[in-house]
């Protein structure tokens, strides 16, 4: 456990070496970074099995905050999160060696990846709000850098800035929370003590601020808009950051502070409402996407809604368990999609990709397994164990409507994933010559799918073992439902019906182009557009006073200096 406290430094040697140009050959750029996430995975697994906890405390590091210590906390919960991060990151690194094989910016790509893994590990290891804020902002920045990685392509910079803006809302809320707590409070595990909830607004305000931060990071409620557009980044990034790890940070923080949430009934009701509404609305929105990756991205938003609802009904373990299995099968879906996109020369539209998935056997198998896990096929896929845990916890909780609505939502899940699978992997190929195979990079990509397939099938059986390990940091955990529980099978039947209906419908549809693609993704974000328009008008007005002439600025500086000096003289 002690070594795990320093896991956020594991990828830094790789970052420095890659940035300095080691190895020198451009085609081998990134090899130096490979060791970092693999070491992180191994250390995290050993620490998780070993149990116990280890803390680091550098006192009075940021003296202007109520709790300005530099605190790290490694316990089974953070070990689990780091194991997920290390697992998905290792595979994404290997996958990227193939996916980015010919990209001229390959070295920069791996440097950004290393930066992301380092900041994400810091976020997970944070022991108090101050350190959490650093990691929180850090992952936001590295996410922006990676979304806008292909900065010459139209739209990528805008998508990155959108993510940055949404994350800034969350960062602001977290900063407020870190500043509002009474002096000495800020340690994440003791936020619920009477001393800490005695500040302004009490437990409700603190929980609400954490909820805003988590919703911004996990693309929930009104702050969902950035995640679908974040698909402008390279596909391995969509898998690692925007499906498996960073977007799950909101769920992690809510689960980590679940004791505080438990003392804030209004906020926990709000979490339930946001989770359920987002899950249903995003599932429906996925049905109207014309872009393959955006279709999967809305699925991520929806599944994060399930996790939020799980935490909201007081079942943080169910939420975390779903986070764990979702990381495997959603990364699998994205990476499998990436194989097809890479083979089609970067095209992402469903109309362009129609039927092309047939030519990639690994990708087809991977996407099928991922889809089955997503709709929750009992016993043989991981998704069923965790999703049924959430639905079951919802039905048996004080707010049973949460569970019933989530159960109904599985139909939509089946519909949208069935639609994507049928169009790309089952429909007759439009133009077989649109695909070009590149054996060397495809081999790397194909084989990095295999561990994720295994994970998407088998991770569910780890449930009760994880539960035993996490009893320490999470307190009393509700028991998991049996794999033979009736709700799970109902959920599966609903999902399978949706999947079958989509299969039947999409195969009979002549063209793959769904009608209103852009409309749904932007209509709900109208309030964002209003803010943006106001900002543009303001900055256009302010820009007019800029002449660009150096002497004018120098004159302004001199005048300002004179004013400051005179003012100082008079004030004295």
């Amino acid at each position: 456990m002690g070594l795990l406290d320093w896991a956020w430094l594991f990828t830094l040697p790789g970052l420095i070496l890659t940035a300095l140009g080691v190895p020198r050959d451009q085609r081998q750029a990134g090899y130096a970074s490979l060791a970092g996430p693999i070491v992180m995975l191994l250390v995290a697994i050993v620490a998780f099995i070993g149990g116990g906890q280890a803390a680091v405390d550098v006192p009075n590091w940021l003296p202007f905050l109520p709790d300005g210590d530099f605190r790290l906390l490694a316990d089974p919960l953070s070990a689990l999160m780091l194991a997920i991060l290390g697992f998905v990151a290792s595979l994404v690194y290997i996958y990227s060696l193939g996916y980015m094989a010919t990209d001229p910016g390959r070295r920069r790509f791996f440097v950004y990846l290393d930066l992301f893994v380092a900041t994400m590990a810091l976020l997970v290891l944070a022991g108090n709000l101050a350190v959490l804020l650093i990691g929180w902002t850090g992952v936001g920045i590295s996410s922006f850098l990676l979304i806008s990685f292909w900065r010459d392509r139209p739209g990528t910079l805008g998508a990155g800035l959108q993510a940055l803006a949404a994350n800034a809302v969350g960062d602001g809320a977290l900063l407020l929370a870190a500043s509002l707590v009474p002096s000495g409070c800020g340690s994440l595990v003791t936020l619920n003590t009477a001393q800490c909830t005695a500040g302004v607004g009490g437990a409700e305000l603190l929980a609400l601020l954490l909820l805003v931060a988590a919703a911004a990071k996990s693309a929930q409620g009104p702050l969902y808009f950035w995640l679908p557009n974040a698909m402008a980044g390279p596909t391995p990034i969509s898998a690692l950051i925007h499906a498996a790890t960073m977007v799950a940070a909101g769920v992690y923080v809510l689960a980590r502070t679940h004791a505080l949430i438990g003392e804030a009934p209004t906020t926990s009701l709000l979490i339930c409402v946001i989770g359920v509404v987002t899950a249903l609305a995003a599932s429906a929105a996925s049905l109207f996407q014309a872009n393959f990756k955006k279709g999967i991205a809305y699925s991520t938003v929806a599944q994060l809604g399930y996790m939020f609802a799980g935490v909201g009904v007081g079942a943080p373990f169910a939420g975390l368990f779903h986070l764990f299995t979702h990381a495997a099968f959603k990364a699998l879906l994205f990476l499998a999609a990436g194989v097809v996109i890479h083979g089609a020369g970067g095209l992402e539209g469903l109309a362009d990709l129609r039927g092309l998935g047939r030519f990639f056997r690994f990708s087809r198998a991977g996407f099928l397994i991922g889809s089955l896990a997503l709709i929750g096929t009992p016993l043989i896929t991981a998704g069923s164990f965790s999703k049924d845990a959430i639905i079951d916890a919802g039905i048996t909780s004080a707010r049973p409507w949460v569970g019933w609505l989530l159960l109904l939502g599985v139909v939509l899940t089946g519909l949208y994933i069935g639609r994507l699978f049928t169009i790309v992997y089952m429909a007759p190929a439009g133009d077989p010559h649109a695909v070009h195979h590149d054996a060397a990079s495809e081999r790397l990509m194909d084989w990095s799918l295999v561990p994720l397939m295994v994970g998407a099938i088998a991770f569910g059986w780890l449930g009760s073992w994880l539960m035993g390990r996490l009893t320490g940091p999470l307190g009393d955990i509700e028991p998991l439902p049996s794999p033979f529980a009736i709700t799970g099978w109902i959920a599966f039947i609903l999902g399978a019906v949706g999947f079958g209906a989509a299969y039947w419908y999409a195969l009979r549809q002549p063209g793959a182009a769904p009608a209103r693609a852009g409309a749904t993704s932007y209509a709900a974000a109208a309030w964002v557009a209003w803010i943006a328009r106001g900002g543009y008008a303001l900055s256009a007005g302010l820009a007019r006073i800029q002449s660009g002439l150096l002497p004018v600025y120098a004159f302004g500086s001199l005048i300002a200096l004179a004013v400051v000096l005179l003012a100082r003289e008079f004030i004295r």
Partner: protein, 100 residues
């Protein structure tokens, strides 16, 4: 008129000349020279203060200003050269792309 007032007056005059020159000139090298004049004016005041108060660390501060001025000249000349290379004229009013 005491010698202190004389030195102080000279410094003020030099600073004003340098400031006005930096604002009026359009050639980057000329502007750079005017900034050097302003720095020297400030240095004069520092040295004067050191002499009146008898402080050794103030004199060392004047030396630091000299070093800084040299470093600043290097960067300024490099900028002027880069400007000249890109535009073939060295008029800084042509470099106004950052206008709103």
């Amino acid at each position: 008129m005491s010698s202190e007032v004389l030195v102080l007056g000279t410094a003020v005059l030099l600073f004003a000349i340098g400031g006005a020159g930096a604002l009026v000139h359009r050639h980057p090298v000329a502007m750079l020279m005017c900034v050097e004049i302003m720095l020297n004016a400030a240095n004069l005041v520092i040295v004067l203060g050191a002499r009146v108060r008898g402080l050794a660390d103030a004199e060392s501060a004047a030396l630091i200003v000299l070093v800084l001025a040299a470093a600043e000249a290097v960067i300024g000349l490099a900028l002027a050269l880069a400007l000249f290379r890109r535009r073939t004229t060295a008029d800084i009013d042509t470099a106004a792309e950052l206008h709103g």
